[in-house]
């Protein structure tokens, strides 16, 4: 199958508006004849479900949590970008587009990113109209702050809980449609497979997590809005339940998986405290507006800090290395996430890390507190400081925070075209679930923008085109494909339940995480990746022999749910390693030691790797086939990124 991204022709600024005009429309009275399935109710899912229902489609929405409001979009802290230029500081749609393309290390599509920047302004309007309480200035107008990778203030925020407020806005729009009967909501339902008929997605198979019932649901289109797969690393900032299962099962039914190795490592997370750790907590990137990142200049001083012989405050100014400010004077502490993370790792690798484990650098607010006063700092970041204090038992007003990079977001995901359609007609992927807009590195405050852009302002247009093409003929679950797919799921569940070995699923998950972090994390080598592939294959074989899955299907069974998710993570892990091995260049957060500049900076290889890697599943334990979508840059010049 050829990979046609369907990017409209014409000047960049006109692509989307022209495309919208060219898309087929569904007659208003016909809309109610279409059933749309939306899986996942985060920013992308909730906004899509609500917007489509408003248009008149019948929507069935699914989430595995007990309420659509729990989706992990809720945890996004810092903010959402929009090219409003309310600050009069030189922002524009083109600048947001340019920053995002550059921030993504020139591995995203121009057309998609421009559209994203274009609709970003509508998102803010929409959210404010819903009653989202964004931060405001004393004059009553909206406030902005700065985020990494840009030199303008374009990030809208609601204290450190922007994701929560945006999600609750989308959730309220969804609730309204549930009340109106246009959306039927299924909570505590996990999607376990996609049903395809004649190559088109026509429904899904779900498991009711409370009763174990395996059900079939038919629709004219299936929208996967199921988030990212950061939990393949076991420890990440994702929620415990975040998983790849929906996307992975779709992949196994034919949808290509694009750029799986593009993961974002967030620089400011609270360091790991021990083996018991179940997840990592992010400290918003906005902290880098006022916090200064540093490590001791010498290994000796670092050693003393690690042994707690001295405190951070006792380290003299000339013994400190504010390494981001030193190396990147124009962006300073606000370099993009990948750059900040890589530099922190480098410092730690040189033995200058701090904290008990040595796997941390400082994020220091002493200067900000002196300049602004503790009250101002508290007003800006109070909840983040409290959270840090709660977790570490250290008071960040008195001593610098310890931070270390952690897996936060996955830029890779299901391959989609400009219409957000996967290569399987009728199967769409929105938000973090798709690969589309962030290239090899996502800028801060762009994830919320993309999720809502896809859900509110893209899919309501592009989906209609497909629906108008296939026509409103009713779909139901009577086709044998539903029974067949359901049987596959039942067999799979039974296979999992038959595992009565001697190792818990969490133990496998932790092991997988170690492999991924060690060999497929911030720095990668061909040698390491080859080794990792063999380790993952062995882990997979062992899992299907020795894992323990307790309980039965006909009950609320977290062990069973987790087993299915980890089994999928193991398979995905192998694909990520394949993808990383293939991509013999450094780009974004992904640093190949074989590809660096003489100064040790990441070196991209545009000649050979300016493409999207879309992988096709070819059967169990078969190597996947690589399809390349060439990235064409008509507007921006590919340069080595510099934030110096």
């Amino acid at each position: 199958m050829s990979l046609d991204a369907k990017i409209p022709q014409g000047p960049l600024a006109e692509k989307w508006s022209k495309h919208k005009f060219n898309l087929k429309l569904v007659n208003p009275s016909n809309k109610r004849k279409y059933d749309i399935i939306v899986v996942g109710t985060g920013l992308a899912g909730a906004s899509a479900a609500a917007s489509l229902a408003e248009l008149g489609y019948n929507v069935k929405a699914f989430c595995f949590q007990d309420s659509p409001r729990r989706a992990h979009s809720i945890a996004a802290q810092g903010g959402i970008n929009a090219a409003k230029n309310y600050q009069n500081d030189g922002d524009s749609v083109y600048r947001l587009f340019y920053d995002t393309i550059k921030g993504g290390d020139y591995r995203a599509r121009e057309g998609n990113v421009y559209r994203l920047a274009e609709v970003s302004v509508n998102i803010i309007d929409q959210c404010v109209a819903q009653g989202v309480p964004f931060a405001r200035e004393y004059g009553g107008l909206l406030d902005n702050r700065s985020f990494g990778g840009s030199q303008v203030s374009r990030t809208f925020y609601a204290r450190g809980q922007t994701g929560q407020q945006l999600l609750l806005g989308a959730y309220s729009a969804l609730n309204r449609q549930i009340h109106l009967g246009k959306v039927k909501m299924y909570t505590r339902h996990e999607m376990l497979d996609v049903v395809t008929i004649d190559g088109h997605a026509k429904g899904i198979i779900t498991r009711n997590m409370k009763t174990g019932a395996i059900d079939t649901h038919a629709g004219h289109a299936v929208l996967l809005c199921t988030g990212g797969y950061g939990n393949v690393f076991y420890l990440s900032t994702n929620a415990m339940g975040s998983n790849v299962t929906a996307a992975w099962r779709a992949h196994k039914r034919g949808a290509y998986f694009a750029n799986p190795c593009y993961t974002q490592i967030h620089p400011t997370c609270i360091p790991v405290s021990g083996d018991h750790q179940s997840k990592l907590t992010l400290m918003s990137e906005s902290l880098r507006n006022d916090g200064r990142v540093w490590a001791p200049k010498t290994v000796e001083v670092a050693e003393k800090l690690r042994k707690k012989e001295i405190t951070a405050a006792q380290v003299k100014e000339d013994e400190r290395d504010y390494f981001l400010e030193r190396k990147y004077p124009s962006f300073g502490n606000l370099v993009p996430r990948d750059v900040a993370s890589r530099n922190a790792k480098e410092v730690v690798d040189e033995g200058k890390g701090v904290g008990g484990s040595g796997f941390a650098v400082f994020l220091d607010f002493a200067e900000a507190i002196q300049r602004l006063g503790e009250d101002t700092v508290r007003a800006k970041y109070g909840n983040l400081f409290d959270m840090y204090y709660q977790i570490t038992d250290e008071n960040p007003y008195q001593q610098p925070m310890r931070i270390y990079p952690a897996v936060h977001y996955t830029m890779g995901g299901l391959w989609v075209d400009y219409n957000l359609s996967t290569n399987v007609p009728g199967l769409y992927a929105l938000g973090e679930c798709n690969f589309s807009d962030h290239g090899a590195n996502r800028l801060g405050a762009s994830a919320l923008m993309q999720g809502l852009s896809d859900g509110y302002f893209v899919i309501p247009y592009t989906l209609g085109d497909y629906l108008a093409t296939i026509g409103p003929k009713a779909v139901d679950t009577s086709h044998p494909a539903f029974e067949q797919t359901k049987q596959d799921v039942v067999d799979y569940v039974n296979k999992l339940l038959s595992l009565k070995g001697n190792k818990t699923v969490s133990e496998y998950h932790r092991e997988l995480g170690h492999i991924m972090w060690e060999y497929c994390g911030m720095a990668r080598t061909a040698e390491g990746l080859t080794k990792a592939k063999a380790m993952i294959q062995a882990l997979k074989a062992d899992f299907w022999k020795n894992a323990i899955v307790t309980g039965e299907n006909e009950e609320f069974n977290a062990a069973l749910e987790n087993a299915g998710r980890v089994a999928d993570f193991i398979e995905l892990g192998e694909l990520m390693v394949d993808d990383a091995l293939m991509r013999r260049e450094s780009c974004g957060g992904h640093f190949r030691l074989e590809s660096q500049t003489p100064e040790g900076e990441a070196l991209r290889d545009d000649e050979n790797y300016a493409f999207v890697a879309a992988w096709e599943f070819k059967g169990e334990n078969q190597p996947e086939e690589l399809h390349k979508e060439e990235l064409v840059y008509e507007n921006v010049k590919l340069t080595q990124r510099s934030y110096k």
Partner: protein, 262 residues
């Protein structure tokens, strides 16, 4: 290992809503004070799994205090002994070695037990569905800066909007009342200009749904406010009361009466 704790847990176990439940005692050994409460339960569950026993079921997801999925009534308090945090943010350093910890699910007629410590809080969703929104469709809305909102109003609205829907207010209330939860959304939208057109229909619809779900009545005892992980105050309830009486006694608007889509 030094500094590690051994604890006795009395945990409510219940297979499903239909089966009666009981307390079962477990040992939690070698617990680091740096663990979160849920990580401590993870440790217990790992050992149960190794023994091929059914792990303790509890709801949890983000583990950073924002999704509202975790619950647990710990030693007589929702989300445990510390103020303004959720169970997932509670660390074992808040307990002492040798302590016995009793863990119960939220108790409310409106929150039936699903399994062990997990309850069904969909009543909260239904209250929101009854009117916890501004009826605007996607697109066609005015520019975000066209309506200035005084900072103090925006901040106050935010304080109400910060509710995570965990249900600790219901769990803490001696009457299992959901008024703090319901009033938080009513207050948020009632304060903002965007919420004004439906202000008085919203409050009636949401209160009616709240009553229908079988929650108790507020007696202004303040346990909800004390236990709310997001520190939402009783003033929200007063705001709701005020709007409700105003709507019922002095205004024309009725509860949301939607006739459906197109």
């Amino acid at each position: 290992m030094s500094g590690h704790m051994n604890l006795t847990l009395k945990v409510w176990r219940q297979k499903n809503a239909q089966t009666p439940g009981k307390f079962v005692t477990y040992k939690a050994e070698n617990i680091s004070p740096d663990m979160s409460f849920l990580e401590m339960l993870d440790v217990v569950n790992e050992s149960l799994t190794h023994k091929k026993e059914d792990p303790i079921h509890f709801d949890h997801d983000c583990r950073e205090g924002i999704c509202g999925m975790c619950s647990l009534y710990i030693n007589g308090r929702p989300h445990g002994p510390k103020r303004a945090i959720t169970t997932c943010q509670l660390h074992m350093r808040s307990f002492s070695d040798g302590e016995t910890i009793t863990i119960e699910p939220w108790r409310s007629a409106a929150f039936p037990i699903v399994k062990d410590l997990a309850t069904d809080r969909s009543a909260f969703d239904r209250i929101q569905q009854a009117g916890g929104y501004v009826s605007v469709n996607t697109g066609g809305v005015p520019d975000a800066n066209s309506t200035p909102i005084p900072k103090v109003i925006a901040d106050e609205a935010f304080n109400s909007a910060t509710c995570i829907g965990c249900g600790a207010c219901v769990a803490a209330c001696k009457n299992a009342s959901a008024m703090l939860f319901t009033s938080a959304k009513i207050t948020q939208l009632g304060m903002l200009p965007q919420g004004q057109p439906e202000r008085y229909s919203r409050v009636q619809a949401m209160v009616a749904q709240m009553d229908q779900e079988g929650f108790g009545n507020c007696t202004n005892t303040g346990a909800c406010e004390a236990e709310c992980p997001k520190e939402i105050t009783l003033n929200n309830i007063a705001f709701m009361n005020n709007d409700f009486f105003s709507a019922k006694l002095f205004r024309e608007q009725h509860a949301h009466d939607h006739t459906g889509g197109e």
